[in-house]
Symmetry: C2
Subunit: 454 residues, 2 copies
């Protein structure tokens, strides 16, 4: 492994400047104006994978954004690792809160600042460079396949079909994913649970046009007022979600499991002060780490209606909208939750308005077993690179496709992410620490080594 | 009066093309980018008033948008009418719902389509042209003064000071205002009541940045969720406003007054079908016309927060906002209501968020007596031009400055508006019927005639 380490050390500056090229492509999957950037980004990655040492790399078009596939087969007898990542990124709004240009990467305070610096270009790119270091030093102990998609942030709609179609090509012993975070650099962790997701959009429509709020105010249902009532009623005073049937399939942990779960190092005071909040808020009867790790949630991700610009306009808007997503835990079914949500939302709407409810995307929760070989290999690799045995960690986030992989490909995923909560993924001023990038580069080859030996 | 009628008939086409010039100026007072358009509009009106026959006309700068003043004094012994109107207009959003360009007037189906076609450029311009017809035919029986402002839609902040400063210049026997509507062309009416207004903006702030809704969802107060709860709680299940003290000064009508009030012709079925709604909604125990005429209301005029563009973004927004206005009735005090609102909103906010509450603008409710000379003169004028005696009508709208006029200038206002509800003021596709414009041109000279004789 020394050759690999030397190669990485000698080429680190080039790795960063190559990552910057990738980060400059504004590959926002949610916005159709970036359609061409997605293709550009995919092609860029295919070239990068070939240069790194892949036998071949290809850009597969889909009905949406392309999938990049590459592989290097060292031996038919060797184990095979399928690296999954995504090159699409979140939108950048609110744009005005960025301190740097979101697609013009910069290094400040030992961190790379850019949309996608962590999620997931930075983390995916570590894999390409670790792979390069092993290829170029003839140290690759196993077969490696790459599958990098461009629709993770919008639900991976076309990757399910891709997996069905190329099931044979994608054959592997483990799917390796770096799209999650660790507790901290001092407390490394491996993610063993992900929440599922059901993402909805609702529209409340009242009168057939915007109305003067003086002439009509008090006599006509105001869609914006009604929307606040309906959305507010989706959770009760105990932070419980009121949709009938919502909790029916939630798996409840035993007291012992809950105690073990709460042993992870966590300071509520640090948490509040990092976020500048005076109090946390959530489901009564659960701790903060339980609320994100093992309990479902419901959040308004966006709300809009009426006059939202400077000054005043005395108007009753004809309609008002909200984007609402729910994080799910085992064994909730994201499609069933979408149906329950829609039914409930229609039920509670008054006759004075019409409501439209759309399902935008979703995915199932996932639990990664801690007793599988890949987990044990990762545990050894992290312990060696971080000097500390990693803890198993339940993330509140979702990677909907992960449960799809198991269903379609029959392969488990290992969630070995190097993010930190301060990376501010999905927020303005996303960043990724150079130290995290380094630790990833060190850990990945060790994982290959230990996994191949098992 | 025949000469006046002939002059109007012969010049009507020119009047319309001159109105179009005025309508083409995008004088949106709420948006600072239109600051120069406001000045342009004011200067345009001063020129128009001089051409119409004013002795002199002047544009008075203020700390905000200018006030246009003009006068023609026929005799120191004659009665004096002060015509008030406004040349500023509402914003045009939602822009995509306009079927024509909002500042490119067109005549279609016997109506002028443009932002400001009615409110209040169209209605103000009728006064300039009626004045011209009387001046050019030597028929003006009284002194006429014009005061046209550019800040009515944003609360007339600088007109109060203007009235204080030019109290002598503005001396008059009645203030004549065409900035309201009639029940219908078949049921002409004169507005004798206006609601007051208190317009607030609230911001709910949670964490110090947008957060990933997976990693934090369920554990941190989401400002958008909290905002829906707070706003929803401002009204109860009976449509009553829950702010403590809100109703304390509301003047309750006697049963006899309420019966008289409800005698105005009104069809709930026509009302619902014109708005395409299946049901009305409002304060329990009151009819629809009572709800807008004699009862206060609370409306969300705008709400926004988080991701509101195409697709999905899994974010907990750092903050969420709402513009909320309340319409007030005698004897509610708009400043006191602002204080009660702010106090209540702060009280109900949970410790998990911070709230910011701003008062944007307001005005007192107004009641115009039906036994004053000007009202009786207007009644005769409308009866002659429409062939039907007008009904007294309580509008739900507000013209905050009207109560200011009485307080500062000691003069009552007559609210002789020619608008109709189908004019869609403040909405996309505002329009003004050519027939309404004609009736206004006919009625105004008759009002001057009868008022001068009283």
């Amino acid at each position: 492994m020394d050759k690999v380490k030397v190669y990485i050390d000698e080429n680190k500056d080039r790795f960063i400047s190559e990552l910057f090229e990738l980060l400059r492509i504004p590959s926002i999957s949610a916005q159709s104006e970036h359609r061409e950037d997605m293709v550009k980004c995919a092609e860029h990655l295919a070239v990068a994978l070939m240069k790194a040492g892949a036998d071949h790399a290809e850009v597969y078009p889909t009905a949406g954004n392309p999938v990049v596939y590459a592989e290097k087969i060292v031996s038919p007898e060797a184990k095979t690792v399928l690296v999954y990542g995504h090159y699409d990124v979140m939108p950048v709004d609110p744009r005005e809160e960025w301190r740097t240009e979101p697609f013009e990467p910069q290094i400040l305070d030992g961190r790379i600042w850019d949309r996608g610096a962590d999620d997931d270009k930075g983390q995916s790119f570590m894999h390409i460079k670790a792979f390069e270091a092993m290829c170029q030093t003839n140290s690759l102990p196993c077969n490696v396949k790459f599958m990098l998609e461009g629709e993770e942030e919008i639900g991976s709609a076309n990757l399910y079909g891709f997996c069905e179609e190329y099931r044979d090509m994608l054959k592997s012993d483990i799917i390796l994913v770096s799209d999650t975070s660790m507790i901290s650099m001092q407390t490394p962790s491996i993610t063993c649970g992900l929440r599922g997701l059901t993402y909805m959009e609702v529209t409340v429509t009242g009168p057939n046009k915007d109305l003067h709020s003086g002439l009509f105010g008090g006599a006509v249902a105001n869609p914006a007022n009604v929307l606040t009532r309906l959305v507010a009623s989706l959770t009760d005073g105990n932070g419980r979600i009121t949709i009938p049937g919502f909790y029916d399939k939630v798996r409840n942990l035993t007291d012992a499991e809950r105690r073990a779960f709460n042993e992870a190092p966590f300071s509520i005071e640090d948490y509040k002060s990092a976020l500048d909040i005076d109090d946390v808020e959530g489901e009564a009867g659960y701790t903060t780490i339980e609320r994100t790790g093992i309990r479902p949630s419901l959040d308004v991700n966006g709300i809009w209606g009426g006059y939202t610009e400077e000054g005043t306009k005395t108007v009753i808007p004809a309609r008002a909208h909200a984007k609402i997503s729910m994080r799910l835990v085992p064994d909730q079914d994201f499609e069933e939750i979408a149906v329950l949500f829609e039914k409930h939302f229609r039920n509670i709407a008054p006759k004075s308005v019409k409501v439209d409810v759309k399902f935008l995307h979703g995915g199932a929760p996932y639990v990664s077993p801690t007793d599988m070989a890949a987990y044990r290999a990762a545990e050894k690799a992290v312990e060696e690179s971080f000097g500390k045995k990693p803890l198993p960690f339940y993330s509140g986030g979702s990677i909907p496709i992960i449960s799809g992989f198991e269903r379609i490909l029959g392969v488990k995923s290992l969630l070995l992410g190097f993010g930190l909560s301060e990376d501010a993924i999905h927020s303005p001023n996303e960043s990724y620490g150079l130290e995290q990038f380094d630790k990833g580069l060190q850990t990945i080859p060790l994982f290959y080594k230990y996994f191949s030996q098992m």
